[in-house]
Amino acid sequence: MSTATDSRGERLVRAAAPPVVALVLFLSLWEAVVKGFGLKPYFLTAPSTIWGEFTKNFGRIWAACRVSGTNALIGLLCGTVLGIAVAFVVRRFRKLDEIITPLAISLNAIPIFVLVTVFSNMFATTSDVPRRLTVTLGVFFVVLVNVAKGLTQVSATHLELMRSYAASETEIMRKVRIPNAVPYLFTALKVAAPLAVITAFVSEYFGGNQNGLGSKITGSLSSSKNAVAWAYVFGACLLGLAFYLISIVVETVATPGGVSKRDRS
């Protein structure tokens, strides 16, 4: 734990320094290995070459990022809303829990390519809907499990206290269960946001439009443009990182008191 006299900036630097140093070391080692052993680009491409392709093709990479990013974002939003809604239903009607939870678990066990293929057969080949549905399903499961847990695992003392106040079930829901579930939702989103991006890429491998990051990566690889493929991979990393950062920013904004800070204190 840092002392109270630390400024915010100092703490940020101290938190950011280890991963930045590690990244620089990793990239230098990679560059040195490629240059030192004279590795061919089709075997392993040097980071400097990838960076060159990234800047050269930035417009195309950005366009592909927007396609995959939009699919991931729409799936993330739909999955979150659906997950929260079903968590409430499951909490309200405990009998349904026994039906819905096993169903959600078995749905989650289906491999992504099966889902994409099934959904692709339902819609036109140029449609983005199958991909968005696939992302929605993956996000839905993570959000459902966590939010349902947050609504249920409430402190026994809190429940006795609310009963002593003669509080109704609705009041217990509003004043105890929902606030208790908020940190669980953000934990879910931190997992679900990068998951949405990955699912969006992977679902592009199985036909449909060839305009997203996933299809660009496979496309570049099959035409032996390895450096370009790596540049697209770099774009994909940035997109995943952006989604994760957004989930953290939303959490910080939504919990001004900093409920999650408690874990660190």
Partner: protein, 266 residues
């Protein structure tokens, strides 16, 4: 009017099943306004069960509990009592003041009135400058003071406490005991207090109710008679030690009876 009137109270958990437990039998107790009654006894004597029956958090198997001349159920609906537990049970997502406001919120008080009362209560427990802090920024003793302030926020005549100082260190604990007496005297509150500690029971109470397990029941009621003005000096008083010895012997009597009956009482 009698504050609490408990008649032939009985509580059986899991009746008729293999794991049936006679938690309480034949409990009769009367508590008058301004009384401070401690319930003390070995684990499993039903002291916490008795407190929950008074609070209408669980239902008796037979017998009656009347609070302020009403059924325990009606008293709960009317919020005639406040309650505090071993865990402070504060809500992390609310500030200290908002925690104290919660029972008032549920009673439908408006914002301004709630704020005023929360500040009045914080004044009483000497935590005024912590109104806007989060509970986890406070020490254990301070959290428990907030919990007491919350229990007293709607000015109930009765305070029910289940080992509220059990998790605190000895020094904090003695300080909290003195604070509790001061607060209850100021608010003229009647208290039923569950504890494991003999000195705590004697220091706080006008009467100590000694209970025994298997089945849980009252074996003795000891009048403490140390007067109302209790200070740190009271703890050095010969009369204080005499009463501690009296309660201890009552509890030892229970131990030896259980041992004679061959009941394992670890």
């Amino acid at each position: 009017m009698t504050t609490l009137s408990i008649r032939s109270l009985k509580k059986v958990f899991n009746p008729g099943k293999a794991n049936q437990v006679d938690a309480l039998v034949d409990v009769d107790l009367t508590v008058e306004p301004g009384d401070f009654v401690s319930l003390i006894g070995p684990s499993g004597c039903g002291k916490s069960t008795l407190l929950r029956l008074l609070a209408d958090l669980i239902q008796p198997t037979s017998g009656t509990v009347m609070m302020n001349g009403k059924s325990a159920h009606q008293a709960r609906i009317d919020q005639d009592y406040g309650m505090a537990f071993q865990q402070a049970g504060l809500f992390d997502w609310r500030s200290v003041a908002e925690n104290i406001e919660l029972p008032l919120e549920l009673k439908g008080w408006d914002k301004a009135k709630r704020r005023d009362r929360a500040h009045e209560m914080l004044e009483l427990v000497k935590l005024r400058e912590f109104a806007d802090h989060r509970p986890w920024e406070l020490s254990g003793g301070m959290q428990q003071r907030v919990a007491i302030a919350r229990a007293l926020a709607s000015h109930p005549q009765v305070l029910l406490m289940d080992e509220p100082f059990g998790a605190l260190d000895e020094m904090t604990r003695e300080h909290m005991q003195a604070e509790l007496l001061r607060i209850c005297r100021a608010a003229q509150t009647t208290v039923v207090f569950v504890t494991h500690s003999i000195p705590e029971a004697v220091y706080l109470s006008s009467r100590v109710v000694v209970m025994s397990p298997r089945p849980g029941r009252i074996t003795q009621i000891i009048d403490v008679g140390l007067g109302d003005a209790r200070t740190d000096e009271t703890r050095d008083d010969a009369a204080f030690y005499t009463k501690i010895t009296e309660v201890r012997e009552a509890l030892r009597g229970i131990e030896s009876t259980l041992a004679a009956r061959g009941v394992d009482n670890r």
